[in-house]
């Protein structure tokens, strides 16, 4: 993992974005299975770190740009709630998972959204994810309600099933693209070529890379 040295020059496609994504959701909504499914599916076991499903990394290649994802799982239990901020600070994206059969878990998502917006403003890309669509017959959170809520808070809504491996790839790809746009917009705002004063501790890092790196994540660009 490249540490420090975040100095990057803009213009070429020869660089790597590093994004931090937090995973939020109540205990039983299946966020761990979701992320495991994502990281296991296309790649083999070696992408599961020794920390198992708590912390996962994934390398992608999106329209010629390389992206390193660091996915941070968080504890969903109420008593760890107060500790959330130290997990999601400096995040570029957040995936908020609820169980479509559990109204309560959707309420929790609403709470997190409020908190994230309050703490991180609009720079963080939010994804609200209704998981377990394989159990649609027991649905307790209506599609319309969820989607309109997501829109109202500037988040995107997705439906997934970790069990059937549905919608997960799309979710992450979409999120990556949005994070890249945000990062690029931020870069433009700062002005190209301006020295990166490293004053901001945000996680967007554009790291110069040697071109000889293997096209590891190439398959993901297909979507």
């Amino acid at each position: 993992m490249a540490a420090g040295g975040a100095g990057g020059n803009s213009g070429s496609g020869n660089r790597t974005y590093s994004f931090k994504v937090v995973l939020l959701g109540e205990g039983c909504v299946g966020k761990t299975s979701l992320v495991l499914r994502y990281c296991e599916n296309k790649f083999n076991d070696k992408h599961i770190t020794t920390l198992q499903a708590s912390f996962l990394t994934k390398k992608l290649n999106i329209t010629g740009k390389r992206v390193n994802l660091a996915i941070w799982d968080t504890a969903g239990q109420e008593r760890f709630h107060a500790l959330g901020p130290i997990y999601y600070r400096d995040s570029n994206g957040a995936i908020l998972v609820y169980d479509i059969t559990d109204e309560d878990s959707f309420q929790k998502v609403k709470n997190w959204v409020k908190e994230l917006r309050k703490m991180l403003g609009n720079e963080i890309c939010l994804c609200i994810v209704g998981n377990k669509i394989d159990l649609d017959k027991d649905r307790h959170v209506s599609v319309e309600e969820a989607e309109s809520y997501a829109e109202s808070v500037g988040a995107k809504h997705y439906h997934t099933s970790a069990k059937l491996n549905k919608g997960i790839e799309e979710l992450f790809l979409d999120l990556c693209k949005r994070m890249m746009e945000t990062a690029q917009a931020e870069e433009r705002l700062k002005g190209n070529g301006a020295s990166q004063s490293a004053s901001s501790r945000r996680g967007v890092q554009i790291v110069d890379d040697e071109p000889q790196a293997t096209p590891a994540g190439g398959c993901c660009s297909s979507g």
């Binding site: 040295g5 975040a6 205990g27 599961i48 708590s54 504890a75 239990q77």
Partner: protein, 694 residues
């Protein structure tokens, strides 16, 4: 050696001894020579004393006594020259035991189970005493320091005074860098040899040969003078040359930086440093060799680490000199605070000798007047401070003493105007960064001396705030120092300026930088986080015998049957690993330790689950944060080491940003969360059992 043959006269004996000393001296065995000179002096004075007391052979005394005294004088001169040349020989040996008996890093592990309130002040083990006595005997400056400290209320700091710290840091450099002698030094060495010869020949003369003696003396004087004059001329020429070279190199350095427009103070400093590097490279060949080597083998990663560690071992290289300078500066700022120990119970009486402790830091107290704070408030306070330095220092240490109030009223009479002016500046925000460390010291006092009448809580609030400010400033300084070191390193060796080499370089610099400082640094963090550590400790005691299930670990992730663990407890290996954290002295290594703890937890959890799944249906799902955090909390609880709180707080400040997003960052964050959760446990006991099985 002093076993005088009975047949010989005292003078001859003394001569013999002096000769031995001179031979040792000539053989560059400085320490032995030094001792032998002293022994000679001792012998002479002893012999003369005996004679003077017996008063027998008066006629002999007049002649021989004079010669012996002169010999003693010469020996004394020589002995003194050793001290002047390198203050080290006698003290070197003193600092070595000092480091072994006082090195706080060593004693830290023992302190882990002790409540934080007592750690710094009371844990100096009794076995320290003899060693300390040794220190006193050998190193005068240090001994004075320690003695006053220990008289001052039994307060004994495990931290070395900054001067000793600095000396320890530079000892190696003196050892290793045997630079060539300057012409003057060479000449004086030569002259010493001449003089020794002269003395030896003189000793062989019988008392009657006065003429020969005079001629010998004259020729010696002439020779010595000539030597000196020649040396002086050579020295001057050399100095001119060096000066020319320095200017030329400075210009070269300036050219290199000339692209940048306006020049800040930092730019200026960097130029000077770079010129130093160029100068160093003129005198030493190894940088060129390494550079060439790296050019021919760009793929060889081991070369990079080899170069960096070699560079850091060259104590006269500008990078290392800068490193030492920064270390000393940081330590100097830490020492006044951490050496005071943790806040004491209010019952500690104010002892008069406390103020003498303060006298030992006259420079830190007085300097502010000249460094001139950037605001009126600071200025007025600084004067105030120098008026009665001992008082202000006492206030620092004993905020809650009743006597403080009394003293402050006295103080007020003395410099009422200062105080009044001061009160109007109460809300004055301390300017950061630009100020000298001493000003921060004053700030601490400033806050407390103004409001002594207020209740204790407010005072301790102020104290905490001041400490936090101080901590913040020090952290900032350290970041700046490391940045500066890294950039000088990369300037010296451009070949290191690639992403991976830079990381390696930084890691090495950080390790070298933090290792001697960490214990003092963490002591300050512990002061700032004292409340949190106390909370952690309370929880640890309360939940000492808790099972993993009590802190929310799912039943499937630990064995319920205690027999299955054979006398140990669940996740013991992770607990043991976590206990090692305080033993490392470098942030990067501590971080690696935390990562190992979390990995061990995952491995253990996997094993325990397999135990369970033997009977149930195997439904594998990896450990997520929902499981990890409760287990980690349990491990932290079991570790029973409140210092972890401060260690992690410090890590967060010093871990490199690049690591924060990765696995290391995740582990540190999880550790912090678990610690915070443990801290909250003792206040939320009911809450705990409620969601036990979520």
């Amino acid at each position: 050696m002093a076993t005088a043959d009975s047949g010989l006269k005292p003078l001859q004996n003394a001569m013999k001894m002096a000769k031995v000393a001179i031979q040792l001296d000539g053989g560059s065995r400085h320490k032995e020579a030094y001792c032998e000179y002293l022994r000679t002096i001792n012998y002479i004075s002893h012999a003369l004393l005996e004679e003077a007391e017996s008063q027998n052979e008066k006629e002999m005394v007049a002649v021989e006594g004079e010669r012996m005294l002169r010999l003693a004088e010469q020996c004394l001169e020589r002995a003194k020259s050793f001290i002047g040349k390198s203050a080290e020989p006698p003290e070197l040996s003193a600092s070595a035991p000092a480091s072994s008996c006082l090195s706080p890093g060593q004693s830290q592990p023992d302190q882990t189970a002790v409540p934080p309130g007592t750690v710094i002040t009371n844990t100096v083990p009794p076995s320290d005493l003899p060693v300390d006595a040794e220190c006193k005997a050998t190193s005068p400056t240090k001994a004075g320091h320690r003695r006053v400290l220990s008289e001052g209320g039994g307060e004994r700091s495990p931290f070395l005074p900054p001067e000793v710290f600095q000396r320890l840091q530079t000892v190696e450099s003196q050892d290793r860098s045997k630079k060539g002698l300057t012409p003057i030094e060479e000449a004086s060495r030569l002259n010493q040899k001449l003089k020794a010869n002269y003395e030896a020949r003189l000793a062989r003369l019988t008392p009657g040969q006065a003429y020969q003696k005079t001629s010998l003396t004259l020729s010696l004087q002439r020779q010595m003078m000539e030597n000196l004059i020649i040396a002086k001329a050579r020295q001057d020429a050399l100095q001119r040359k060096m000066e020319e070279r320095r200017l030329r190199l400075q210009e070269e350095a300036n050219r290199r930086f000339s692209a940048s427009g306006a020049m800040t103070a930092e730019d200026q400093e960097q130029r000077v440093l770079y010129a130093n590097v160029l100068e160093y490279e003129q005198d030493h060949d190894w940088p060129k060799l390494w550079k060439a080597n790296m050019k021919t083998n760009p793929e060889d990663v081991t070369l990079v680490s080899g170069l960096v560690s070699f560079l850091l071992s060259q104590s006269d290289h500008p990078v290392v000199r800068l490193l030492r300078k920064h270390q000393y500066r940081v330590y100097n700022r830490l020492y006044p605070i951490v050496s005071k120990g943790l806040p004491q119970s209010p019952a500690v009486p104010l002892r008069p000798s406390r103020s003498s402790h303060n006298l030992l830091h006259p420079e830190t107290q007085r300097k502010p007047t000249s460094t001139a704070g950037s605001s009126v408030g600071a200025q007025s306070f600084n004067t105030d401070c120098s008026l009665s330095p001992s008082l202000s220092h006492d206030l620092n240490t004993n905020y809650d003493d009743e006597e403080v109030e009394e003293q402050v009223t006295v103080e007020r009479e003395n410099s009422f105007e200062d105080l009044e002016q001061f009160l109007t500046q109460l809300d004055w925000a301390p300017p950061h960064g630009s100020m000298d460390d001493t000003c921060y010291d004053s700030e601490l006092t400033c806050n407390s001396s103004v409001q002594p009448e207020q209740d204790d809580t407010q005072i301790s609030d102020l104290e905490t705030r001041a400490l936090k400010e101080h901590l913040k400033a020090i952290v900032k300084d350290i970041h700046i120092a490391i940045d500066q070191l890294l950039s000088l390193c990369l300037l010296s060796f451009e070949c290191l300026n690639t992403a991976s080499s830079k990381d390696l370089c930084l890691a090495s610099i950080e390790e070298a930088f933090f290792t001697p400082l960490w214990s003092a640094l963490v002591a300050l963090f512990r002061k700032v986080h004292r409340e949190r550590e106390l909370a952690f400790e309370t929880s640890s005691k309360l939940y000492r015998d808790a099972s993993p299930g009590d802190v929310g670990v799912p039943l499937k992730l630990f064995p319920q049957d205690p027999g299955a663990l054979q006398g140990s407890y669940p996740y013991e290996s992770a607990v043991q690993e976590l206990r090692l954290l305080t033993k490392d002295c470098c942030p990067q290594r501590k971080l690696e330790c935390i990562v190992r703890v979390l990995r061990l937890i995952c491995a253990c959890a996997e094993d325990y689950r397999c135990l369970h799944e033997v009977e149930s249906t195997p439904k594998t799902a990896a450990i997520g944060a929902d499981d990890l955090l409760p287990i980690l909390s349990y491990v932290a609880l079991r570790c029973q080491c409140p210092q972890l709180v401060s260690e992690c707080a410090a890590l967060e400040e010093f871990i490199h940003e690049g690591y924060l997003i990765g696995e290391e960052g995740y582990c540190l964050t999880s550790m912090q969360s678990a610690l915070a959760y443990v801290e909250s446990l003792h206040t939320a006991g009911t809450h705990l059992s409620a969601d036990k099985f979520i």
